[in-house]
Amino acid sequence: MPDGREPVPAELTTSTDRETLEVDVLIVGGGPAGLAAALRLSQLQHEKGGEPLSIAVLEKAREAGAHMLSGAVLDPSALRDLIPDFKEKGAPLAAEVRDEDVLFLTQSSTFAFPIIPPPLKNHGNYVISLNQFVRWLTSQVEAAGVDFFTGFAGQDILMDGATVRGVRTGDRGIDKHGAQKPTFEPGVDIVAKVTIFCDGVRGNLTKELLRRLELGDKDHPPQFAIGLKELWELPPDRLTAGTVIHTLGYPLKHEEFGGAFIYALPEGQVSLGFVIGLDYQDPLFDPHMAFNRFKQHPYVSKLLEGGQMIRYGAKALPEGGWNTVPRVYMDGGLIAGDAGNFLNSMRLKGIHLAMRTGMLAAETAFDAVRAGDTSRAALKAYKDRIDRSAVRDELYPVRNVHQAFGYGLLPGMAFAGLTVATHGWFPEDLHGHPGHERMKMLAWYYGSRNIDVAAPSNATTIDRKLTFDKVTNVHFSGTSHDEDQPAHLLVHTEVCSSICGPEYGHPCIRFCPANVYEISHDADGTPRLQINASNCVHCKTCDIMDPYQVITWVPPEDGGGPQYNGM
């Protein structure tokens, strides 16, 4: 197939020259969850002594933190438990939260909420750059002597029946047609007694685990949103560092879930972002355009006036909450962090939950390896630990809130208020639907109206000062990939050239925030999908939102991807 690789099951590929590395615990993903797990393991090692465990961390980015993107406001609770002297150790917590506002935007006006809704209270939290925070956390992990492999992604899961045996890293040195280049190196089999999957939101390996082992609950499919973010440099004194502003309303329609954040960092830098539920109905809606429209709102454009956009990024986030957490333990494997949907969408926070679940996974893995029993029954202790922890205390009461927003903004807000008042009492849990199933076909959404499918329904003017086209934004994400490799987006393109145009008008060209997908037409007018894989910022939106579920994201080779310095 010309447009990508078929994923090859690990057990079917030959392994003539393949190296094997054996470790006790393998952690896939060097984000907050994976790094907290690694550090906790080495702490347990220190406390309990005995034969040292061998630990390895795989990170797909070329350098630590390069693929990390978040708002971010950090709740320091898990950090405090993991590294009590984090301040002395120089944790880069850019600014303590000082001023908070929640605003409701209409097309031209701004209304401040009279009180800050309790879940959005951020007293005692910090505005951070997740990129810098993760780089610091990595330095702590490396100082503890853990092997941290950057530029290596897990490509396949090594399985023996229902037992996870480890992970195979991707081959390197394959050209765009799939042939071996002179630099070819086969991937390495990393065999572990316990593998902790921390591969992030819609992690490619966790997705495969969920499918093969049926770990998810069909009544509570995962829910996702896409977050787009720009880092701006503003004239001094525009916003005090530590100012945290959230907005609801414009430019989203009632049926669309989302809002914006504005977090002020020191030295005039401001993190500006927009989060939109990946369960919108309009097939011609473009999340990136919504972000542009948000910036054109008088309140925001005035704030940004005279400033300069210096970085851009996009990433999906798991918003479904407690009921969408899959079974996170299995024979030889655990799932932590965003990969396991541990995120509190009501508080817009997941870093502390990622770290906490990483730590609990580490404690479970440590005991299991020491006891010589890494079976599913033994690793269930992880779930028991979660149930006794602050993770459940925080997520269980708000378990229905995101699903309630599926009924619209006002019902969702009313339900959220009720949840806070009753601490989450509700007779029956609300079911969710996969977000991509909510996207309507053109004919359903627009009826007989005349529509232009060539432009997003929420298109706006692009001036490359305040508003940007995707291609310009991608430049500011620092994204680069080796060009001579197979596309790392596997698409069943027969859908693109047949039914997708008439049914949905090729929504991939709109929901992708990085211009990866373009439609060109052959001489006979047949639409043909062009995949600009080297633009990909690894947000996973296409893997999530494509209505036919024919797009699969796999890791590119050699650490390609965005470079989120300072984001």
Binding site: P182, R464, V471, T472, V474, H475, G478, S480, E483, D484, S520, A523, Q530, N532, S534
Partner: protein, 321 residues
Amino acid sequence: MILVIAEQREGKLNRATWEAIAAAQQLAGGMPISVVVPGASTGNIAQELASASVAEVLIAENAVLEPYTPDGYAAACRTIIEPANPTFVLFAHTYQTRDFAPLLAARMRKPLITDVTGINGTGADATFTRPMFQGKLAAQVKPQGGPPALVTVQIGAFRADAVQKGGSAPTKKVDVQIDAAAIRQKPEAPFREAKQAVDLGQAERIVAVGRGIKSQENIPLVEKLAKAMGAEVAASRPICDNGWLPMERQIGSSGQTVAPKLYVALGISGAIQHLVGMKGSRTIVAINKDAEAPIFEVADYGIVGDLFEIAPAIIAELEKP
């Protein structure tokens, strides 16, 4: 004094050497300039370079410099630089320089400033401009820890035709002692991975084509224009993605960076990824039907119009006897 390290292959001078000499002349502020020609057998390159207004041209021949190895060149340059103790050593920022200059700087424990696009001031107090973040920012750099400071100059940043010619500088052979056993690399015969590889960085004129060309059948029009202008053909990304022109002709952040004397952009909108690859060109001519296209923000001359009318008109004009 300033040393300029010339680059040659098989007795043929790399013309970027002239650009390094031009940079040295701008930097000198009265300091004498010596040009060094390393190689096994450098033919009459020294005589060619002696036409420049420099103090001397040194021929640093040694059989072990053929074939090129980074260890050999680093050792040869070091034996010449250290006794001469120049204030600056200049190189053109070629593939070969990129290969051995970092090694040389590390061995000598001296500063290395790479890909310099501008020199501010003259003499020992000069500062250097170099791009950062894919050309988005420029940094002013002042070397510390020299002398000497090693400086590589970006291809096209200094004009080869601006070299002051001064008649005939003396040429002399210098003794280069290199321990052949210290050369760890054993190069195989050179090969090109891609057929007909083209180094657009060497082209003085480039005609680049973008999406506006519409279909592959129209590529010959571009080739015809390039031929009439004595230019190389290049392209923006979509053209190469479509396979209408080979990848090696792609300009931009995922292709080559060029700075020819003349860059003609045909039907290229000018996405920032393309601009970073060509905005250093001396004269940029943009032909595009969209007057709002960002290419016009960097163009010296812009024609808003249909390239299918304009390109043939230019060809006709150039082909007039």
